[in-house]
Subunit: 111 residues, 2 copies
DNA sequence: TTTCGTTATACTTATTTTTAGATAACGTAT
DNA sequence: ATACGTTATCTAAAAATAAGTATAACGAAA
């Protein structure tokens, strides 16, 4: 038995940002394109795209900067706001998980 | 913008207990029957029943004690283990939420 | 013995959510 | 001009979830 937790930002009852977008953005940051990121994460490009699109729409600012065309086809890189957001989300999750692990032991340590 | 969080117990990759079963059990505890609890929560009886059934199967013990028959048709009440579980889950969520609210302010207070 | 409102369970249908696939635009180098 | 690998977008399919339906057992009271 173990504890699972999930955290996300909401606005008006709609999910704005959470683990899914965060992992995806981190992968984009590492690989340089949304296409490759989707492939590495085992999801379709269209799904990856819609995840980013929805988050951006709710947030009101861009998470990635895109380029199309050119010999390499183009690619995506994180905006400063995107980088800051995933950084904060990661730090949040780290601290939260550490605390919740202790809390779990306190209340469910015996099951 | 606000933070949302969800916590649940897992075993072997399968959800065992979380907010859904907890709310349902609390309602059963208050109303005395699973039937009425399902109605009040706006879900079908069959769904309510399957929620309890799955949780009990994963946990390995009964969450409700059932009676059928009699002039009132019967009803359900929580077992001591069931009461303890929802109590602990509630306390866990309370402490967790309080902590996470502060953490939220720390990392996302400005958005 | 009939009635009543429960629980228990299986099975079918609806709805919602998720996922995949197709197509077009883009721009640089060849 | 062509080719290439991106991004962008829409539509259809599939899967997961939930709802609904039907039937049986139960037991106290009328």
């Amino acid at each position: 038995m173990k504890l699972e937790s999930r955290f996300w930002l909401e606005q008006g009852g709609e999910k704005v940002f959470g683990k899914g977008p965060c992992v995806l953005l981190e992968t984009v940051d590492r690989l340089g394109t949304l296409n490759k990121a989707a492939a590495e994460l085992g999801m379709s490009y269209s799904k990856a795209w819609s995840i980013i699109k929805r988050a951006e729409k709710q947030l009101g600012f861009l998470l990635m900067e895109r380029t199309t065309g050119g010999v390499d086809g183009g690619g995506s890189s994180l905006t400063p706001e995107g980088k800051q957001l995933i950084k904060n989300y990661r730090l949040f999750c780290e601290e939260a998980d550490a605390f919740l692990d202790e809390l779990y032991k306190k209340y469910f340590g015996d099951i």
